[in-house]
């Protein structure tokens, strides 16, 4: 994979660079930030995460499974306990709820993994250690012929280091 990697020590610098790249409609831009910064969110203005769909589906499946397993297994071999109904939905709500939470959470996590594309095995690409430390970064996946132009743009916004990877 080829591209340009820029390192910014300051938050407003990287935000300005993002806005500029956006304005120039540069595709395949990845921004690195050591922690969530709302300025960056604002600059990128990304669509809402689709993780919530996973959550909805998982939680619905979970609550269904919780009720189903308790009702089905009660009916499967009907035995009376304490004169209560064989399958009684009130206590089974607890099973429904717990499965709702468990499956809902796990599918949310799965949704995050899938969408954020982790786990990944290789991190030495288009990445710099400083991004987990204190610096911000921008990685633009592109062909070498565009390197110079992008370097200029990035440096103009305050990148302290710009390097092409090929």
């Amino acid at each position: 994979m080829q591209g340009v990697l820029a390192v910014f020590p300051q938050l407003d610098a990287v935000c300005a660079a993002i806005r500029d790249l956006k304005a120039k409609k540069v595709p395949k831009v990845t921004v690195y930030t050591p922690t969530i910064q709302h300025e960056i969110d604002d600059a990128i203005d990304a669509p809402t995460s689709v993780v919530r769909v996973f959550t909805l589906i998982g939680a619905s499946l979970g609550v269904t499974f919780g009720y189903w397993v308790s009702i089905w297994s009660s009916e499967y071999w009907p035995l009376q306990v304490g004169g209560k109904a064989i399958a009684s939905w009130i206590p089974y709500t607890i099973m429904g709820f717990e499965m709702f939470v468990m499956v809902g959470c796990l599918s949310t996590v799965a949704g995050m993994f899938i969408n954020a594309q982790i786990p990944r095995l290789v991190t030495n690409f288009g990445f710099d250690k400083r991004f987990t430390h204190a610096d911000y970064g921008i990685w633009i996946e592109t062909t070498p012929d565009k390197f110079d132009e992008l370097e200029r743009t990035l440096r103009a916004h305050g990148a302290v280091e710009v390097r092409g990877e090929r």
Binding site: T35, I36, D42, D45, S74, I94, M102, A116, T132
Partner: protein
């Protein structure tokens, strides 16, 4: 971490957590965060000693378990009809401890309570290890622990499934869900920090391990975007979960018709008590940590003050719970219930009842004083009293009720035995073993989240407002 609202273009706000007030003014740069927090990971001889003590205590519990599995439960202090004793008490105690962690990491997150940021990691770890400890006790206390898997609904040749109307089965579901979710929550929060450690580590083996644990996290915008969403959902799920888990545990008692157990106040009263004891345990853990590792500028007196208010509030909650139990017993006019409560406070169990009333109701009233709320030494001492008091609260619920039931012919007395104490000691050993291992392998303060409340470097002066 992570905002839920999409920021309004043009009007950049740093809205949520930092705005809530409690900050870390002594921390000014991201570099400082990395350096100071990662510096805590260097094992010291003190730490090894502590770990040694914990492992030894854990081994006491482990050998007691082997002994008990071989001989049966008879060596424990049980005196029928007191069929539940120290094991269940300790189980409820540890489940309760766990609640503070989830409260801090999830509920306070949703409430935008800023003081959670620096203490949430330790609390969440405490939750996971407390639930791991608690989860052992139902297995320890059953007569045939090797048949424990029968409580799990899976297709089998016996054609039998568990009985879903049993509160114990609800426990199985609630505790396993709780353990899964809090472990997930802890681990996912750690991922960005693992990435930090991976990139700062020089030892190739450790680097490799952190690389695996970080799942290749790179701090990209895409990652953060989904991560924030997921984090919010996890917190949203954990909030009802944390309330439900101790409610379900309280159903173990409330669903039975034993006098002293059969009461509708139990779920809120248990949850309140759980948070109360959990915060006390947070103090027990964090106050020494902040002192020894010089993290006072992360966990500031403001933080302690905020937690002390929670403790005071929950103490008043459980206190009103105790009082209303007595009131209802009197008001109900049910003779066995009245006799039981009289016996609890003025009869054979007066000492246990008063330990709990003093530790849980009276001593925490000192927190009305701001001076004491900001006095770490007092908070530490108080946390020990509260831990003892909360253990006794469960003792008072479990044992006196069973010893003084409907059938006067079977009234009895109960004293724990040596093996019960081995398990109690072992549970602390097990808990602290994990906790000590944790704090030297993983950052006890969330690096990425603290960075969020540290003012970012700006090219053109300080942007935003904080």
């Amino acid at each position: 971490m992570a905002t839920t609202a999409k920021p309004v273009v043009g009007k950049i706000k740093r809205p949520n957590i930092p705005a809530a007030g409690i900050q870390v003014p002594a921390v000014s740069t991201f570099e400082q965060v990395d350096n100071e927090i990662l510096a805590t990971l260097k094992p010291s001889s003190k730490w090894f000693m502590g770990l040694g003590v914990a492992v030894f205590a854990m081994l006491i519990g482990a050998s007691a378990w082997a002994y008990q599995i071989y001989w049966g439960l008879g060596n424990a202090g049980y005196v029928p009809p007191v069929m539940w004793g120290v094991y269940i008490i300790t189980f409820v105690f540890w489940v309760g401890i766990g609640h503070a962690g989830t409260l801090i990491s999830a509920i306070l997150y949703l409430f935008r309570a800023g003081f959670r940021t620096t203490i949430y990691r330790a609390s969440e770890a405490m939750t996971v290890f407390a639930v791991m400890t608690a989860g052992l006790f139902p297995i320890i206390h059953i007569g045939r622990p090797w048949k424990f898997f029968w409580l799990i609904p899976y297709p089998n040749w016996r054609l039998l499934y568990p009985q879903f109307k049993s509160p114990l089965l609800w426990d199985v579901f609630a505790i396993s869900t709780y353990l899964t979710i809090s472990t997930t929550f802890l681990y996912l929060g750690l991922i960005p920090d693992f990435a930090v450690m991976r990139d700062r580590e020089t030892n190739p083996v450790r680097k490799r391990i952190f690389a695996m644990l970080s799942l290749g996290w790179k701090n990209t915008d895409r990652e953060w975007r989904h991560f924030a969403k997921m984090y919010m959902f996890l917190a949203a799920f954990s909030t009802p979960l944390v309330l439900s888990v101790h409610s379900v545990v309280s159903f173990d008692f409330a669903m039975a018709l034993t006098p002293g157990w059969h009461t509708t106040i139990f779920p809120p009263y248990f949850v309140g008590g759980a948070i109360f004891s959990g915060f006390a345990m947070v103090w027990t853990i964090l106050i020494p940590i902040r002192k020894w590792w010089h993290l006072e500028h992360y966990v500031t007196l403001n933080h302690l003050d905020a937690t002390a208010k929670v403790v005071l509030f929950t103490s008043l909650m459980v206190g009103s719970g105790y009082l209303s139990e007595f009131f209802i017993a009197w008001f109900s006019g049910v003779a066995p219930e009245q006799e039981y409560f009289w016996n609890r406070v003025f009869g054979q169990w007066w000492w246990a009842a008063w330990i709990l009333l003093i530790c849980n109701m009276i001593l925490p009233l000192s927190l009305f004083s701001q001076k004491l709320r900001r006095n770490p030494v007092w908070l530490f001492i108080l946390s020990i009293f509260i831990n003892i008091g909360m253990w006794y609260e469960r003792f008072v619920i479990v044992v006196p009720s069973l010893s003084h039931e409907f059938e006067p012919w079977q009234w009895t007395h109960y004293t724990p035995s040596w093996i019960d104490m081995c398990f109690l000691v072992g549970s602390f050993g097990w808990f602290f073993m994990w906790f000590l291992l944790f704090i030297k392998q993983m950052p006890v303060i969330a690096i990425a989240e603290v960075k969020e409340i540290v003012p970012p470097k700006m090219l053109h002066g300080h942007g935003g407002h904080h």
